[in-house]
Amino acid sequence: MIDFLTLLQVLDSSLRLATPLLLVCLAGLFSERAGIFDIGLEGKLLAAAFVSAAFAAITGSVWLGLLAGILASIMLSLLHGLASITLRGDQIISGVAINFLAAGLTVVVAQDLFGQGGRTPPLKSGGRFEPINFPGATSSKGINDAGPLMQLYSELFSGHSLLVYVALLTVPLSWFILYKTRYGLRLRAVGENPAAVDTAGISVVGLRYSAVIIGGVLCGIAGAYIATSLQANFTKDMSAGRGFIALAALIFAKWRPWYALSACLLFGFFFAVDTRFQNILLPAWSLSGFLILIALGLLSYVWRKDYLDKVVLGGLALGISTIAIMIVFSVWNTGASSQIKIPVVFIQSLPYVLTVVVLAGFVGKAIPPRAGGQPYVKER
């Protein structure tokens, strides 16, 4: 069984891995609450990661790196704003373009600057965000005999980079801005019905730009975090789909800050499990029981759906239960070990599978801001 210390370490690393997701998710939250869909979160994250790593490497100062990363991300946000707010273009296309731009440019510029195959040189100590250790936390770190509270304190709460705490503070801050301030009221209104905001004499364009800029700042911090804190340099495509996972988390969270925190922690947990447990052994019985449960869940879900859903998801359920039955059979017949090794690729794919499940709409009904994705044109 997993002991308490291991559990804490997994949670600790969940928090670490959830941080960039959380920041990007909140970036998307501000933008989408204002009615601007932002599929370019991934690109902004990547661009910010590269620029902050490059500046930190050149100047040796992580703070300059962070600042440069935020600025780079804001530039891309403004590009998105120009295309989708001012020029009233298609927000999805603009976002996709930003993703391509970032994926290509980062590698090309990195190669040109550092000549290390599209990566930046490893950051030295001044160029990184170091873990902050709370008073008295180091003494009990990694010690199995310390009391549970002390372990909680030293393993989970202490020892993260500054940006982790910043990200956590952003959640209540976003909630406060959104629900307790005039700006938040207007922001939510402009995502629901921009005409109401416009006729009230407030600039729709101004509000939407401010929202995408806030998104830019948050993506910038997230990018700096992955390149200067989670890792110690920039590598090609290091954002690894986090921008898209954050979008899924945003839908999962129904565009609410506190829900976003839980959704991102869940995704972070899956990432942590993947890094921590490369080989998981599960008893065959519980594994096949679990699979059958999933199959039953699918069946009850499609029960009242259309014909096509029944065919596709029913087929999936059939496949899953077949696997479960085969596992039971082989254990029974051959008397093989009743422990089944889960292939590492399955574990690695978990966060992505969850993303697909969320996006497929399995998790309740998520109603996006009503004016989302539509450019605002004044009507007569």
């Binding site: 307790k180 629901e192 006729t199 009230a200 004499g201 004044k378 007569r380």
Partner: protein
């Protein structure tokens, strides 16, 4: 001492490209009066009001408020000048509370809670002063349109508006709600507010305004005292010629049943029951009108009859039962083949393809007929074009050019194209939804005549309209729908708007009698 006008426009002009929407418009509205602006669609009423509310900048002209010349570059400036606007389509955030909608843009500080408590207190005062009671904490999407309109009025009053502009305010209201609105407006007038009422309904102008301006083709054709005019005069000023306001028709001679509906029910995709056990019969040679406030199941009834929503129950056309699923045997094509024609409610979405040419639109639904085809593979486009042109002339579509795209015709002419397509196929049953929505008075007259003429040929007509006047003047029998069910049947000659209004508001048979 002479009072300054509350608002005065001098020589306002505005063009959109080659189209002159407003030409030298001059109006003076005295404080404490209700001033009506009437005109057909596209006469320039909305453009004028948009200029007043800062949506558009006039090309030329001056605006005076209380005798002072001002410029209105944006809505903020209009609000600051004491102008409030209640739009035809409300500008409310549907999932916000009443209170949040009222303070939006007029918050008293950066934090919300002080603004909200201040607004709550002021709202209570306004409610007492003008008898405008609304629960400040209800969510907009949960309250009725009448209430939503009150919220819009309160929004303007909260911003200290002295001049209130209402654009077609009664379009979505029941007669009772409209009466209530008029009471509120009269109350506002007593308190010294100035009200500008934009409408195309002559009756409203006569009922409530003190003075009235008539607009035609971007020009102000007359400004009159309401006491000194009559609906006939106003209609003539609007259209530029004598107009018949009443429909001329002989009593109906109904014969055999053409459409029979038994126990028709329908549940929509969200699980809401939209139609509840509908039973009705339409006979040959009669017009059956269905009255009701928009959104009480009339649209769904038309969708089911037209073959694009599934339902349960029995529908018989000329005695034979129709497949009620939305499969091929029950779709619109199949029903057209049985002698049904359909003029849908929303001509721009369901009746026409706006980017297609008139002749293409004129053949949709009938494009598979032998007469429109050269052989199995090709349509006879030349013949269709020629036929369309003749049809357009017969139905007075202007301009009668079959190669013009549908979106380039005015609302009335678009409707005539749809009507021509459906009527000229000589159907046994014609379904008509909102035949004159957004259509100008001159065209309304023509469309009504065509529908009556079809009835006189012995065809059955099911008419659905939210315009009570239209229902009363066209129908031979009237059914009222409320919340998906038929509330009762009335003889249009022996009923009145008040009685129908009660039924439309869901007050049951017994209570209404």
């Amino acid at each position: 001492m002479t009072k300054n006008p509350a608002i005065e426009l001098r020589q306002i002009s505005k063009s959109f490209g080659p189209v002159q929407a407003n030409k030298d418009i001059t109006i003076r509205v005295m404080p404490g009066t209700i001033h009506g602006i009437i005109g057909e669609n596209g006469a320039g009423k909305s453009t004028l009001m948009s200029i007043l509310y800062g949506f558009y900048k006039a090309d030329a002209g001056e605006i005076f408020v209380d005798g002072k010349k001002i410029s209105i570059p944006d809505s903020q400036a209009a609000i600051a000048a004491g102008i409030g606007m209640v739009f035809q389509h409300f500008k409310l955030v549907e999932n916000f509370s009443v209170l949040e909608n009222i303070i939006l843009g007029a918050e008293s500080g950066a934090l919300l809670s002080p603004s909200l408590s201040k607004a709550r207190a002021e709202l209570a005062a306004l409610a007492a002063e003008y008898e405008l009671n609304v629960d400040p904490d209800s969510i907009i999407e949960d309250i009725g349109v009448g209430m939503q309109q009150r919220v819009e009025i309160l929004k303007a009053l909260y911003r200290q508006a002295n001049i209130l502009i209402l654009d077609e305010p009664t379009g979505v209201l029941t007669p009772a709600e409209a009466d209530q609105l008029f009471r509120i407006l009269k109350r506002l007038r007593e308190e010294g507010k100035t009200i500008i009422l934009i409408t195309h309904k002559l009756r409203e102008i006569m009922d409530i305004t003190d003075t009235v301006s008539v607009m035609r083709q971007g020009e102000m054709t007359a400004t009159l005292r309401t006491d000194n005019t009559s609906p006939e005069d106003l209609a003539e000023l609007m259209v530029g010629r004598k107009v018949l306001l009443r429909v001329d028709k002989t009593p109906a001679k109904p014969t055999k049943p053409v459409l029979e509906i038994q126990n028709l029910s329908m549940v929509d995709d969200f699980g809401v029951q939209r139609l509840k056990n509908i039973n009705l019969t339409v006979k040959a040679g009669e017009i059956l009108g269905i009255a009701g406030v928009a959104g009480n199941g009339q649209s769904e009834l038309l969708q089911v009859l037209g073959g694009y929503s599934a339902a349960t129950g029995i529908i018989k056309l000329n005695g034979s039962e129709i497949d009620l699923s939305t499969s091929v045997s029950g779709d619109g094509q199949a029903r057209r083949a049985l002698g049904m024609a359909h003029v849908p409610e929303d001509r721009q979405r369901e009746g026409l393809i706006m980017d297609f040419m008139a002749w293409e639109n004129a053949v949709f639904g009938y494009h598979r007929e032998k007469s429109n085809q050269v052989n199995r593979f090709f349509m006879d486009n030349n013949a269709i074009r020629q036929e369309t042109e003749e049809k357009m002339k017969r139905f007075d579509v202007r301009p009668p050019n079959p190669k013009l795209t549908a979106k380039n015709f005015s609302g009335g002419n678009q409707q005539k194209i749809v009507l021509a397509r459906e009527i000229e196929r000589n159907p046994d049953l014609l379904l008509v939804g909102q035949p004159t929505r957004g259509v100008d008075i001159g065209a309304i007259e023509f469309i009504h005549q065509q529908i009556v003429a079809l009835r006189d040929q012995g065809k059955a007509i099911l008419l659905i309209s939210v315009e009570l006047d239209e229902i009363l003047s066209l129908s031979d029998r009237v059914l009222v729908m409320f919340d998906g069910a038929i509330m009762g049947e009335r003889n249009p000659a022996k009923t009145n708007e008040k009685e129908l209004g009660l039924l439309m508001a869901g007050v049951s048979e017994k209570a209404a009698q």
